[in-house]
Structure formats: C-alpha cells, structure tokens
Symmetry: C2
Subunit: 754 residues, 2 copies
Amino acid sequence: MIVKKYICFILICFLFACKKDNKAAIKNNVEQNTASHPSLILTQKGVKNIKAQLGTIPLFDKTLEDVKQDVDAEISKGIAVPIPKDFSGGYTHEQHKKNFLILQKAGVLYQILDDEKYAVYVRDMFLEYAKLYPTLPLHPQERSYARGKLFWQCLNDSNWLVYASQAYDCIYNWLSKEEREHLENDLFIPFANFISEKNPQFFNRVHNHSTWGNVAVGMIALVMDNDELLQKALYGLKTDSIAANLKDDDGGFIKNKDQKVGFLANLDEPFSPDGYYTEGPYYQRYAMYPFLIFAQALENKKPELKIFEHKNAVLTKAVEALINLTDKDGEFYTINDAQKGMSYYSRELVTAVDIAYHYGGNNPELLSIAKKQNKVNLDDTGLAVALGLKNNLDKPFRKKSITLTDGPNGNQGGISILRNNNLEVIFKYTAQGLSHGHYDKLSFFMYNNGTEVIQDYGLARFVNIEQKGGGNYLKENTTWAKQTIAHNTVIQNETSHFNGKYSIGSKNHSNQYLFNISEKIKVVSAKENNAYPGTELHRTMAIVTDSSFIKQPFVLDIFNVIGTSTNKYDLPFYYKGQIMQTNFKYTQQATLKTLGDKNGYQHLFVEALADAPNSNLKFNWMHNNVFYTLTSATQATDKIIFARIGANDPEYNLRRDPTLIIRKTNTKNALYVNAIEAHGSYSPVSEFSVNAYSSIAKIETLLNTKDYTAIRITNNNKQSKLFIFSNTNPDKTTAHSITINDNEFNWVGSYTYN
Amino acid sequence: MIVKKYICFILICFLFACKKDNKAAIKNNVEQNTASHPSLILTQKGVKNIKAQLGTIPLFDKTLEDVKQDVDAEISKGIAVPIPKDFSGGYTHEQHKKNFLILQKAGVLYQILDDEKYAVYVRDMFLEYAKLYPTLPLHPQERSYARGKLFWQCLNDSNWLVYASQAYDCIYNWLSKEEREHLENDLFIPFANFISEKNPQFFNRVHNHSTWGNVAVGMIALVMDNDELLQKALYGLKTDSIAANLKDDDGGFIKNKDQKVGFLANLDEPFSPDGYYTEGPYYQRYAMYPFLIFAQALENKKPELKIFEHKNAVLTKAVEALINLTDKDGEFYTINDAQKGMSYYSRELVTAVDIAYHYGGNNPELLSIAKKQNKVNLDDTGLAVALGLKNNLDKPFRKKSITLTDGPNGNQGGISILRNNNLEVIFKYTAQGLSHGHYDKLSFFMYNNGTEVIQDYGLARFVNIEQKGGGNYLKENTTWAKQTIAHNTVIQNETSHFNGKYSIGSKNHSNQYLFNISEKIKVVSAKENNAYPGTELHRTMAIVTDSSFIKQPFVLDIFNVIGTSTNKYDLPFYYKGQIMQTNFKYTQQATLKTLGDKNGYQHLFVEALADAPNSNLKFNWMHNNVFYTLTSATQATDKIIFARIGANDPEYNLRRDPTLIIRKTNTKNALYVNAIEAHGSYSPVSEFSVNAYSSIAKIETLLNTKDYTAIRITNNNKQSKLFIFSNTNPDKTTAHSITINDNEFNWVGSYTYN
C-alpha cells in the first residue's frame, strides 16, 4: 500500500509537470469564452474541484492513470477515420467505435490534466470526421430499417454523437470560433439532423434505439445551446409520417397510434415505477448510459427540469433494479434478448452506478458495486464515489427476494426473484418487452452459486463477432430463441404463446397473483390468460427452507393449466450438466430426428423417449460438481422427451444444449408439480462424492380443484409436509378451511405450509 | 499476519494444555517398548523434533490444526464400521474409505499432540475391525477379478491397510501386548495374507493394483517386524499359479511369462529412467502414494536398501515428471485412462512433493508447488517443506518443453510436451501403458492458458459417483474412450491401432524420431510402424514462435502416412468451443446417423458433411472467449465430417462433445499438414472482439518424398516461410541440400525453418 501511494504521488507529480509544460504551449484559440464550457458532464466548477484533489483519492487517480494509458496508446497509433464499410465486428465498425470512446476520454484528459495534446488530438480527429461526413452516402450494408452513415445503423451513429458531444464540450473553449463553426455546420448539425429528421422511424419511437437517438441530439444541442434541437430531443419530431404497420429489424412495431415520443416519453413508458425496463436488463444496461449521461447533462444545464426527480426518481431506482437483476457474479439474468456474460462490470454500469450514487442520495450499497468495478467516471460523480470508498463508506449490496413490476404504471405483470443463500429463481410474468421480448410467459430459470442450473437460452447472436452474421441478430433468434419451446414454461400444441405474433403479444401481459416472502417459504404466483385463448395458465413457485425436513432449500413449482379443449402440453427443463440417474427407463433413438417442424420445435433433436412413471419422475444430474434432482408428479400417460438443440441450424449458430420435456397429451387440464433440489458435491481432486441423492421420497397431489391445490411432500425419513394453496383468493387475511381425506385444515392467508 | 500469528500462538498454547491434561490421564498400556515405535513414517526422533518446533512454522501449524478439526469432527460422530455392501460411491465403501484416512490422521495426532483420546479412537476402531473382519466372506459385489472383503476389490482393501499400518505404528507402544496380539492375529495378518496369498492374480503383477498390494503388506510387515511378509512385499509370492491368459477387469493381462513381481519389480518396470510411469499421470498420481510412503518407511526401517537411490533416484524424478505432466492450473494431462480435474492439489501429491523435497535434495522448485498446495505431511518431510517455505527458499517451478521417455530402459517411445507461454502441446508416442492404455499412437492434444482447446476425451467413468455404474469403469470406456477414433490421431479403415487388441498393443511402442527445442521453433517427431501392419505413420509437431511473421506462436502439425495398400484415413480434431466460420460449405444432416458401427465409430453422430476445399481448409472457432483457427492443406477429394459423441450411449455416460474429421479415401499415402493458431479474444462485457481471424493465408506442400517434406506457410501480408524436414535422418549435424522449384536449399540438421 505504501509503495502504491508512493507510485501515485510520483504519477501525480508527473501529471502536474506535464500540465506546466502545456501551459507554456501555444494556444490556438482566438477567443476564450471561459464562462461557458465545459458544462455538460464535466463543469468548470467540477474540474476545479477534481484538480484540487488529484493525488489524494486512490480509485480516481487509478482510473485517471488507466484512461491516460489507453488514450496515449491510441494517440501514438495516429488517427484513423476509415470510409465506412463493415458490419459490427469488422474493421471500420470497430475503428469508429473505438474513436468515439477515445474522443470522450481524450476530452476529459484535456480538462483534468490541462495537457493540450489531448485537445489537439480531439480537434484533429473531429476535422477528419468533418471532412469525411459530408461525403458519405448511406452505409453500404443494407440490413437495417434505419441505416446510418458511419455505421450500418443509426443506432451506432447515435452512440458516436453521444460520446463525441462530450469531447466537443471539453475542447469547446479551446477551439477557435471558426473551427467551431466549421465543425458544427459540416459535422454536428447535419449529423443530428440525419438521425432525427431524416430517420423519423428511428427517432420517433419508444425503444432503446430512439433513446440513443434522442440523447445524441440532446447532448450536442446542449453543447451548442441549440434549443430547437433540444426540443426535438426531449419531445421528438412533431410530424413523422411513420406508417402504422411499419416494423423494425427485430419485428417490433415502430410506433403505436398517439404514441408520445422523445426522451421524456422514453423515460416514462418503458420504465415501471420500480425501475424495471421492459426490454429486460441486457438492454436496460445498454440504455442506461444515454439515459443517465443525458440526465447528468440536463441537471448541469437545465436544473429546472429536475430530471432526477422525474417519475418519483425512476432513474436512480432503475440502477438499483439493474443490480438486483444480476446473479452472484454480477452477470445480468438473460431475460428476453440478452447475451450471456454481460455484467455490472460493463462501462455503462460504471457510469450508471456513479451517477446514481451522486444524484440519488449517496446510497452506500452502490459503493460496494463501484468497489468491485474498480473504476469510476472522471467527473463529479466518480469523484464522489472514489471519495466515499476512500472513506470506507461502502456497505454490501444486499440482494433480496424482490418483485419488479413491469409497465409504465407498474400494472403489466413483472419479474420476481426468489433468493435463498446460493439459490436464485427468476420468474417472468411481464409484458412483451417491445421488439426484444421473448414469448415465454410464466417461464423461470435458476442459478446456484452464480452458476446456471436451469437455463434460459438468451439471444441467438454473437454481438460484434463479425464471423457470425456480421455480429448481428441471427435468424435463429427468431426461429429459436424467441419461441416458447426455448424456455422453461408450458407450450400448448407445439405453438408459441400468442402464436408467436408480436402484434398480439405486445397487447398483453401476465398478472401477478401473489408474492410473499418469509424465512421458511418464499412464494410467487402469477396467471396468464391470453397466451392461449381458452386456456388459463397459473404458475406458483416457491423456495422452501425447512432444514429439519429437507436439509437444503428446495424449489417447489406448481403449474396449473386449465383448458377448454383437449390439448397437448409440454413443459421443458433446460438443465445444464450431465445426467447421472433417472428412476425410469428411456430408449435412446438410433437416428435422431427433430421434435417438430415449426415454432422452434424444428431446432430440437430427439435423443431419447420414455413413458413417465405412474407416480414420481426422478431426474438426477450433476453440473459444475454439484448434484441436482428434479422430482415431478407424473402419470403413466405422460411422455418424457430428452432432446438437444441444434437441428436445422446449418451454420452452428446454436449451442448444443440439452433439455428434458414432460409432455401431457389428450387432456384439457394439466397439473405439473415439480421439486428441484441442489444437493451435495463432487470433487475430482479428492474423488469424494457427498450427498449425491435427492432427499425427497415423494410428491403427491392430494387435492386439485378450481379453488384449492394441496401437495404433500414426503422426505426419505417418511416425514411429510403439506402445502395447500388457494387458487382464487390471494388475500393475506382471509381464513380458509377445507377437508382433505377426512382431515380438516384451517389457516389464514392464501396458502399454508405445514 | 500479526493476527494470524497471534491465533497460532493461542492455538499452540491450547494444544499444549491438552497435552498436559492427557499426560495426567490413565494409560492403559501394560508394557512400554518405547524404543521401537513409531518408526515407520513418524519416528521417535522426528516426533521429538516436531514437538520442539510446534508454533513456529506456519504451514505445519496450519495443517496440524486442519487435521485436528477433521479428526475431532469424526470422533464426535462416533465409530461406524458397517458390513460391506456397496460399490464405490455407496455408503459402506465411502465409510470404510473415510475410516482409513481418519485412522492415519488420528495416529499422527496422538503422537504429535500426546492426547490419548486419539489413541483410544484408533484402538477402538481397530477393535471393531478385528471383530468384523474374521466374519467377512468375499465382498458381495462380484465385478472384480480380485474381490476384496471390506471393499469390492482387493485394491481398496490394500488402500485400507497402507493407511491403517501407519495408525497402528503410532499407537503400537501405547497398546497392551494382548491388544497387539489380538489385532495382529485377527486382523492384520489375515488381512495381509488375503490380499497376497489368497489373491496372487492381484498381488503378483506389475500394475498400480499390485503396487498397492505389495506396499500394504510391506507396511504392516515393517510395523510388526515380520520379515516373511516383508520379503513377499518386496519380491512377490514365490509361486502363484496364475494362468498365462488371465485378464483383469480392464482387459489387461495379469502377468507375462518370467515376469518379476513385488514392490521392486513394480518400481523397476513401469517407470522409465525419466520417471514417467507407463500408465500415465492419472494413475502415476494414484500409485505415487504407496511408492513414496513405502520408500519413506523403508528409508526409516531399512536404510541399507537405499531405496531413494534406486534406479538412479527414479522416485524423486517421478515426482518432478508428474508436475511436468500438469497444465497451467496444475491439472494432469488426460493421457490414457484419466479423470479430468485431478491435479497436484490431491492428497497423493502433497505426500509426494514433501517426500521428494526431503529425500531428493531439497529442490526449491518443489516448494513453490507445496506453497500452492497449502498443506504438508505431518512428519519430517512436511516439517522440512514448511520450514523451507517459512525461510522463503521457494523458487517457481519452471515447466519447460520436455520429453519423458517410456519403458523400463527409456527406449519405448515417450511423451513430449511443447510449451510456449500459454500454449501446451502434448504429443504421445509411448508404449501401451498396461491395462489403462488407450490405442492412440502419435496422438496429441493442446491447451491454451490452462484451458483444453483440442481435447483428449479421458476416461469414461465417474470415479466414486455411485449413480454411474457404481463409480466404476463404464462399458463406454472400452467401446469409446480407448478406441483410436476417440483421439486426435490417424485411424486407418475405421479400425483402431493394433486392431484394438491389448495382446498386440502391449508388445509394441512408437519411437521418437527427434526432439529439438529452440526459441524460434520447438519440434518433436515420432514414428509408428506397428499400429497398422504395412503402414508407416510419421508425425511431426512444432510450436513456431516468429512474431514478425505470425504475431502469436502457432502449432505446425505434419502427419505423413505411407501405406502399401489402398486405405481410408481419418484424422479427427476434438476441438472445444463453438464454430465461428469455415471457408467451405457444409451440409447439415436432416436426421443424424452414426458414423460407423464399431471401433468407437458407433458412438459418433454425423451432424454435417462437406467436400474439402482444393487447397486449404480454414476452420475458425471460439472457446472461453479466445479465437482459434485450424488451417489444413486439403484436396478436393478429401471429405470433412462434423460429428458429435453420444450415439449408442443409452445411459448418457458420454459427454456430447464435437469433432471435425478430415477423411482421405482411396489412397495408399496421405499427408496431413495442419496449422493451429490461438489468436485474439472476445469480451462479453465490453463486447469487443479483437484479432478474430487467422493470420495464415495459405499452407502448401512444395515437396513430399521419402526423404524430405517441404511446407510453405504464407501470412496475410504475403510473406512466406519454408519448413523443410528430413524424413529419414534425424541427425543434428548432417548437411542437407535439395532443390525445390529450381531453388537450392542448404542447411545442417534434420530440418530448417526460414
């Protein structure tokens, strides 16, 4: 530590030495409007404050040194502004992306270090862009519904402007008036007009795309004090002539009738009052950067808007919601389109956490996340966070069992996460989630100790890996990842929820039935009545912690399906790991054929088939050296299907992951009752296997009526517990009394476990 | 650190307090032959020395406390000596296994802590065994060629006696004469006789099984000073009447004609002069414990044998060889039957490293391994290691490119490992490796940064996981894992090497052709002429480090097949990860069928088929966020097969891993020339993909004659390098001169790269 401090001190001395040298350098700006800039993210007051504390706040100093190394390395390579050509992952895409990230950093370094070389670098790169931009046609890749100029889609062009605006603000005073006029007239204003007026189908929406567009225009507007552009950013274009049935690349409608647009609409609509963003955490993470960076700019330039108080402080709530949507390792749950591995270590979340801390009441739990991130924003917000950490104000971020409602008013279903020590069960009963939504009402997935055990597939895309479809969405995202069979929920007659139609799905949402948390049993329950007209889906999930009965916490899952016609129902479990043992015989298929021919079923190869046992199915597997068992109450008429993803996947775009499907045929109603245990462990070093078997001997349905469902769970010591659940009355205070097998049961509230 | 020291001090005070209490306790031994015991692993002198230093050597004290906690927890549970019933993984197996491990530890604690409760525990458990053992028939599980009594095989019974002997030695003096006579007559002597005289097919072999048997008998013989048993242990049974064609459970012959047997034969035969154990590192690890613990006992009791000098100090060499057979994370390479994940963190390697350090000249590199293990033997050897670490004598263990010869005299081929920074290429050209050997001459596998990239399958077994075939070898080990198609080497006409016959394979071995290491190019080459009579196999592998040509080190692989009849040749690459891109079209199969019907081919499903490009095949994949590319010189008549393991696997005993097979048909000769690059990276957090493509533009064979093979490699900048290799003269000093395309090339040594 002492050595580190010493190094820091030397570094800071060096930085100040640089500063002196540069003060001596020739300044090329003709006029110095020193009062006006920077004022967007960095402010003159903020910079002064930062400079005064350099060398005293470790994490800020460390970040500054890291950023300096990054930028210096890029400066030494020289400026490259290539003619746009590639999809994401390709050279020109990645170079322009790198440019905007470095521009923003170089601008900050100029302000904090007073070293003119950074201003020169930013100016010179801007001049290159001002030379190139006016010559550009639409990007040659034609796939997007809103093609950009630097990039294949306006979305990425907007990314560029959001970052570039900050760099412009940082060197604004340093530039000559002529340079500014040149850059604004030949680059920034045409750029802003192109992504707004010229692309209303992109700009005038409620979607993460248009958020980026709105913010890009808004940021440059604030730097230039251009109120006309700012009004467009906040409230959208007044007219747009977007056709009512126009769709984007992902199949989402561009705009509903009478839809409000612009930044404020994008803040009001997709966020629920709990801060859940309807597209899901992967895209919420992506959108948080423009939301928060523009909010910070508005707070600096237009404090009268009180943007951080908007919608009951939804922006800071959203950051805390996002952190609650991560697993033990900080990785986001794969709700809807989502790439696995994205986490709160991303640059967007560094920005988000620092801004939420600074403008959201200095929540000390956010500091513990910033500590893990080990970097901060180089502005007031990052300074505040680094100072908080220096003063050891951080407290652990406590992730609890939580519900996040969906919908602008919080009444379009939601997501619940049940947590118990290492177990995490994510239960989804949201609205559609715009164009990135999947058709998976009442689906769940499960983690143990940060490891996926029952997985959601995520998206079918390799973001920015050019070899895989230019880094863009692959067609299997539509044919597989979005389909209901790709998820752990009930599929009726091999057809996806809402028939896989966005126009229907986007009009509906599931409804929470109840959410109750206690030490012993944490329960969430939701209903879905529109996925299959005429069929009611009602799923109840619980984590039971009752160590004198079953040593480890286990998951109880009751999926009640009530149909009006005779149907076939499938419930898949996308377990991860290797099968250890089953309590039934299955027949491996000599040649592998697909399970079906559409709605995602065409992507599954059938590996083995079985008749279910006429009581309980036991399925025991191992993953990452932990044992798991699924116990399910089955009937002899149920079929068990072992399948694997990968059929009709001619370019190996899908992972070859397995599933077990419980199929109930020729029935109006179906009741799935499942228990999932995580138990024991194996060590390949000691070669000891511990507690490798399930502790549940039997699950039985004692009663299942319209009003009540009663489940008896028996352990290996022949002790039993009864879970009785009211299917029609979620009220916590109602007294219930029923008789089962001549025994009378009385309790208060919607369920009893005893 | 200060806090830790303080805790240590308190702990030691506590331990001494216990000691005092126990000295006051009633001793139940009638006579005290204090001069004689312990003398096996712990010695009276050693114990005195240890006691004198308690509380001063951190790692020793830490280990002592850990062991004390383990044993105290077991003592508090009470003694359980159940009637034998289960296979490994089952209750009775695991309990008896736990018993012998705890017995040994409790004995040590009694000696070091002078706390009689440990002696009482050991005695009482021995008395339970002495009650049970005489009543036992053969173990009820009938699978083994040598069934035990406590366990299903004599092997595990021998494990028990090796550990139990140490415990007996520790409490020998403390026991009464009557107790000792009872234990020896009713337990130890019948036990030793059963695993030797009653099971000659187990005891009189050269095999890791019999090593355990010999050592078990030898250890108890040394405690009891029973020379008759010791002679059996060292030299085997004089007569055994083992039938010549008798085989064990794994298909290995029990005994060759005129085979020497006993411990010394087991030391002489399977170890090469380099310390490589012919079964491979997984079993070497298993066998090292009895080899070294018995050597330590012999050194203490029979120093005149000079066991650590035997065969030019092969035992300590073997420990260093074993460490060289681990990847970056310390996990053993999966040569022959081997379970993945086993590593130098295993208890056997803790023992091995400490003994090798103490008796092998205090190699400071071994201390760095002990430091990672973070525990030591509680005896002289562990004390020496802990003291070395306390005095900071440790140096990093430098794993280099290395050859380990196979065979008692080092002339039966071998294993070479080429290493360069993070790349590790393991090339196998050994003898059969006894009954645990696989049929994979000239096979290779590759790691990058501790991650398998081109994998060897390992064994088909889940050791000690009862659900999977009682934790024993699964039939797929024979039908799949041992077959040649399961490995990365050439298969002729879908038939395994030596026709998959142990009787032939065990008579043959490959031969090293050359092994040369330089900064720029590290080369190993070997020939195999007996796997397919009439066909010569000659493979040459290199790691080329030439950053001005190709930025990262790459692997060059030249497999020359010279046949006398027209054949079909397959060369599989068991890549791990997901396919990114190929430079050829392939056709996904609508229904999946097996690739063949025997010799392992029945376990592969064909997923896709292609015709090879008429120049170079490019196969680009990603694994653990690193990109890899295989470039292979192909002809249009070559076929490419994408296959996956898992057909004819009715109980999901096999992993569903993929392979790419290059098939050359209707040809006498075949030349496979491949390059494998590890390049670039991807981050799912930043979503940046870096250097995702191969840097090799082309590989061409300019010349391929009986005497020479010349390969031209061209990079993306159109620069070329030439690798010319003499196929018939490995001499380092011979001058060569050849003309290719009118250009004359002159060089000295078997190859040139320029």
